[in-house]
Amino acid sequence: MISLRGVTKSFRDADREVPVLRGVDLDVAPGELVAIVGASGSGKSTLLYVAGALDLDFGGEAVVAGRSLRGLSTAERADLRNRFLGFVFQSFNLLPGLSALENVMLPGILRRDGAEPVAALRTRAGDALARVGLSAQAAARPGRLSGGERQRVAIARALFARPAVLLADEPTGNLDAVTGEAIIRLFADLAREGLSVLVVTHEERVSRAATRVLHLADGRLG
């Protein structure tokens, strides 16, 4: 589901190029939960954004959900993110003006073919919230939810479009130990259901649940 070959990425700092990824090769198959660990600033998030078709300014080859990212137009990349990829971020990244339910149904609203009625989107969003145990908080704004609840809303949103790939960036970074464990167990369950789950983290507890753990150092995976 995710296949990266010789991926390079560098940032410009003043007059010099600072390499972050130096030829990364990575494969994540369906049903796998792969954890990438590394120190802060090692390029873990950068790798995730390349795999998530959010950053096209990279070298090498990236194939995600059967599509080579290089050949995709802006609209095709947006469609890929909408239909095949789910994102979970450390800081939840929910829209504060929308309710939990509305945040979850956003991918359906943004869908390019847009054939599903809003009422049906609401029903499905309600189901997604129920799956993460947040039916009672459907009408609440993110500001009234706890950190763990917000992350579960973000996971419900990531799963709403029934993606093939789940990308998570430090998903337990802002959660207490108990909530973090629950989130990790949920990711493991999702992987067992056939999703390709790629998690970047520096937390050991995430690594313990992963089917594979890869270390990113000096721009290379090992």
Partner: protein, 428 residues
């Protein structure tokens, strides 16, 4: 993203920032209200001015030249040959001669069947012009005829519609006499007159006899100070009193289209006649003043809409800067930069539309209020309209669309800024 999703997101953004939305829509409301109010005021005042100074854009009044070059140009006298030539001029649909009656006519008694407090001993001199029946045919009352009663009987006359208004609003209150009933209900009343009698003793003819004038209609084609009789009646009276006719006083030419008028005026001058611009020029001056004033007020209103658009633009710019992370999230979830741009524009359009609808309603309410104040404070002068505002549907349409368009134009820059958000850099 489909239009449905676009609208959903734009509405969600508006809901999320209710205070900002209220301020922005309020600015658009003020602009739209001003636009609707001033345009409607211009139209209403214009209509009132046109009632006060009616001018048919297709009519041209031809008079003999002040300094005649008839010997050289073959013109000068407005006779039947000249009328025939005028009818042949390019763009002319018809031409009707007018001839001033040179026999005095005076009314020593009030109209019969009309309850007015005629001051005792008052005699009213009636200036008369003879006109071809065709000129007034559209303005005759039902069943009324405009022909010379050669065999005796009442002489049909047509008077200006405006004289009734002037009488009702100035003469009647000043004399403390009754007002006249509405226009066409007067048709058919008769006024006893004396033909040959003048209020200036030296001008009274040797022979004075009784006659009756019957009101046959009301017309804007008659000057306010004249009564119109059939041309044949005037000729007959001239014959009776031995007055020689040296051509017509005036010929009224009807152009096929208003655009033909300048060409006809030029042809008239080439024939050696002049064009009487009096009524037309007055109407045009009033029309110009009203149009310029309306235009200036409309410009002020459009500027207010522009300022509202700037306020919306500034507010949206701040909003976009504050929402870059949300925009990046939308892109991560499947929005394209074009989608993001459209959401911001749709948000502005919604605010502009809401402001426009409210503003159109507010402008209408303000107009109703202004009419009520005017009714209470202004005296009842001639041609005072029931309302000083005109409300065709296009004003409401304009009041709604101009602020919406202005808001969308103002939102172009913030929308472009939003579309440039780099999700990878912003989220990380």
């Amino acid at each position: 993203m489909k239009a449905r999703g676009l609208l959903w997101l734009a509405l969600a953004n508006v809901r999320a920032d209710r205070r900002g939305a209220l301020v922005n829509a309020g600015a658009a409301t003020v602009g739209a209200a001003a636009l609707a109010f001033f345009l409607a005021l211009g139209l209403g005042v214009g209509d009132a001015a046109r009632r006060m100074f009616p001018a048919d854009a297709r009519l041209v009044d031809v008079v003999p030249a002040g300094v005649s070059l008839s010997g050289v140009l073959g013109g000068g006298q407005l006779d039947d040959a000249a009328v025939a030539r005028l009818r042949e001029a390019p763009g002319v649909a018809d031409a009707w001669p007018r001839l001033s009656l040179r026999v005095p006519v005076a009314a020593p008694r009030p109209p019969e069947g009309l309850q007015v407090n005629w001051p005792p001993g008052m005699t009213v001199q009636i200036p008369v012009v003879g006109v071809a029946p065709g000129l007034l045919a559209p303005d005759l009352g039902p069943g009324a005829r405009f022909e010379d009663p050669a065999g005796g009987g009442a002489i049909p006359v047509v008077i200006s519609r405006r004289i009734l208004e002037i009488y009702d609003k100035t003469i009647a209150p000043a004399w403390n006499v009754r007002r006249l009933p509405p226009g066409l209900s007067l048709v058919g009343i008769e006024l006893p007159v004396k033909i040959g009698l003048s209020i200036v003793p030296q001008k009274t003819e040797d022979r004075v006899y009784d006659a009756r004038l019957r009101l046959a209609g009301l017309s804007d084609r008659i000057p306010v100070y004249l009564a119109a009789m059939p041309l044949d009646t005037v000729r007959r009276l001239h014959r009776e009193y031995g007055k020689q006719d040296a051509g017509y006083t005036q010929v009224t030419v009807l152009a096929r289209r208003p655009d033909d008028v300048p060409g006809i005026a030029a042809a008239v001058r080439r024939m050696g006649f002049s064009v009487d611009e009096g009524d037309r020029a007055a109407a045009e001056r009033v029309g110009t003043v009203v149009a310029v004033t309306t235009g200036a007020l409309a410009v002020v209103a459009v500027v207010m809409c522009g300022l509202a658009a700037l306020a919306i633009a500034q507010s949206l710019s701040a909003s976009v800067r504050a929402r870059v992370r949300e925009i990046a999230i939308l892109e991560a979830l499947g929005a394209t930069p074009a989608d993001v741009r459209l959401v911001v524009l749709a948000e502005a359009a919604l605010l502009g539309l809401a402001g426009g609808v409210l503003g159109a309603a507010l402008g209408r309410l303000a107009a109703i209020g202004a009419d009520r104040v005017a009714a209470r404070l202004l005296p009842d002068f001639p041609f005072r309209p029931e309302t000083f505002f005109g409300w065709p549907a296009w004003i409401a349409l304009l009041a709604v669309t101009v602020p919406a368009l202005a808001a969308v134009l103002g939102a172009l820059a913030p929308a472009a800024t939003a579309a440039r958000v780099d999700p990878a850099r912003t989220i990380s």
